[in-house]
């Protein structure tokens, strides 16, 4: 049984249709790369998965349960952890406060998060607004982990970060995969870095799933045609 499964999903922003026919699934312990050029519906698909946007057609199932009617906070409680695009930490709270504000019982606690990102321990009492972009990203991932999710969604987790920090974050993602077996959906523009962790890939084009397969099967034809690289 898939951990999350979207079948023929369509969604609108007001009168504008953003998703027409998106289907994808992620199994437990699997890392899925969700790919596509800008504006093709990746973040909208994430919003549908997190129930921040209702789908007008199709089904969204999480652990076999139809979550189409759930509000976003209930979807999060079921175990969908989101690291949103643009990080958006709670600026007025300290690192420690950001983490414990979202905490739910489970293996991931402050100590475990700091083992993954030791910098957060060093910045424990510092205001989130005073962190560097990379540290804020680590905090955003840590905050999602503190909810003890079954599925972690990383939406452009390394966008705009220095190569050294990007490397550090991808290393942490790889560690999450190898040591915890957490299911992950990763959205990123870097094929090389996605390739280090992703098992499978889904490509979206104009709100439709146009390619699904093993990440290693992505050839020049697909990357050139759908990703423009």
């Amino acid at each position: 049984m898939s951990l999350i499964e979207l079948k023929n999903v369509a969604a609108f922003y007001g009168p504008s249709q953003a998703l027409f026919d998106v289907s994808l699934s992620v199994d437990e312990g699997e890392v899925l790369a969700l790919m596509g050029r800008n504006g093709m519906g990746k973040t909208t698909t994430v919003k549908v998965m997190c129930r921040m946007l209702k789908n007008s057609a199709g089904t969204v199932q999480f652990v076999g349960q139809d979550i189409g009617g759930l509000p976003s906070y209930k979807a999060a409680r079921l175990g969908i952890g989101l690291v949103p695009e643009g990080r958006r930490c709670f600026a007025n709270l300290s690192v420690f406060e950001n983490l414990i504000a979202a905490a739910r019982k489970g293996a991931w606690d402050f100590t475990a998060v700091c083992q993954l990102f030791p910098r957060l321990e060093e910045r424990r009492d510092q205001s989130a607004s005073s962190l560097s972009g990379g540290e804020q990203q680590m905090l955003a991932i840590g905050r999602a982990l503190m909810t003890n999710p079954k599925l972690l969604i990383l939406d452009e987790a390394t966008e705009g970060l220095a190569p050294v920090i990007r490397h550090e974050i991808w290393e942490a993602v790889a560690k999450l995969k190898s040591e915890t077996g957490m299911a992950i959906i990763a959205i990123d523009k870097s094929l090389k870095e996605l390739g280090q962790v992703a098992d499978r890939a889904v490509i979206l084009e104009k709100g439709r799933t146009v390619w699904t397969g093993e990440f290693g099967d992505l050839g020049p034809e697909e990357t050139d045609r759908y990703l423009g690289v």
Binding site: C50, M52, P71, S72, Y73, K74, A76, R77, G81, L82, P84, R88, F90, A91, N92, L93, E97, N98, I100, A101, A102, A103, R104, S127, R143, A144, M146, T147
Partner: protein, 321 residues
């Protein structure tokens, strides 16, 4: 700064006691009670970002809880006999409990409806609820209507003579300190942090599995209960309760205490209430139009010291100390 504020609030009545100035003790008691009301509202306004213009409703409900219980006890007449007997009481702890419960219930009902809105709609709906209760009190002849309700004795607290101004101040001061401890604990708890986070980014809070509406409702109820307790003490201080306690001007004054001291600052309402009482006493003696000067002070704070007096002195980094 926080310790200084409490030391001044405690020191002034002690000096007044030594100098045989009971009126000053009463002023300090008034400041402590207003500070308590502000501490209550500050949870909703400062931490939760909920600009409630209806908190006078809870202040007044607390006042009327005291007035109704004490007036029945004074007249040896039960409040109701059927279906079960409810008698009045002069016991302060019992009155406080009733005041807090009734204010909390009112806050639950008002909050459950008004928290479905936000921004200016939230302000207007809380104002509307407040005015609804105000007009109800005016048209309630059983408890004085527009003239209010006088209580001829001060209520009792075990082991104290509450008619002695310094002893009644002590009661109010201790309650204020307990409320500050409670708010500090709430602010540092996961609930308080989540409430603060909901003020900053509602969508993000939803995405980590928390419902901002529930967080805000709980905060609104706690806030209402603490403000209601302040209302009961205020009515006891004056031995009088009237619809004025429920008016929108009262809601505005509680907000003013917070703005003067610093929105979201634990001790903001304490400093704000002390400055308010000081201005009321000093400027009020010079001119009946002293509110003009208060308005000028508020303008100055809003324009030049957005963290209030504490923000101006301690800096923005220490926002929640």
């Amino acid at each position: 700064m926080n310790v200084t504020a409490l030391a001044v609030l405690l020191g002034v009545p002690l000096w007044a006691l030594a100098a045989d100035e009971p009126f000053i003790i009463t002023l300090a008691t008034r400041a402590a009670i207003f500070a308590l009301a502000g501490v209550g509202l500050n949870l909703a306004l400062g931490t939760g970002g909920l600009v409630s213009l209806g908190h006078a409703a809870f202040f007044g409900i607390g006042g009327y809880a005291m007035g109704i219980l004490a007036s029945h006890a004074q007249a040896f007449a039960p409040i109701m006999e059927a279906p079960f007997l409810i008698e009045g009481t002069k016991s302060m702890p019992m009155i406080w409990l009733v005041a807090m419960l009734s204010s909390a219930l009112a806050a639950l009902a008002i909050g459950a409806l008004s928290l479905r809105t936000s921004g200016v709609y939230f302000i207007m709906i809380t104002l509307a609820f407040g005015q609804m209760i105000y007009y109800f009190a005016i048209s309630w002849p059983a408890y004085g209507g527009e003239d209010g309700l006088s209580i001829y004795v001060r209520n009792e607290f075990p082991g104290l003579n509450t008619l002695v101004p310094m002893q009644f101040f002590g009661v109010c001061f201790v309650i204020l300190c307990l409320a500050l401890l409670l708010m500090n604990a709430i602010h540092k708890s996961a609930f308080g942090l989540a409430l603060s986070a909901a003020r900053q980014n509602e969508t993000r809070v939803l995405s980590v599995g928390m419902k901002p509406y529930n967080l805000r409702l709980v905060a609104f109820v706690i806030s209402g209960a603490v403000t209601g307790l302040a209302g009961a003490l205020f009515a006891d201080l004056n031995r009088f309760v009237s619809p004025t306690m429920l008016s929108w001007q009262m809601s505005g004054e509680i907000i003013i205490f917070i703005i003067i001291g610093g929105v979201g600052r634990l001790f903001g309402p304490v400093i704000g209430a002390m400055i308010f009482i000081l201005l009321e006493h000093t400027l009020g003696g010079l001119s009946e139009f002293w509110h003009v000067y208060l308005g000028a002070l508020l303008l100055g704070i809003v324009l030049f010291a957005k963290g209030g007096v504490i923000g101006a002195l301690a800096g923005r980094e220490k926002a929640h100390d």
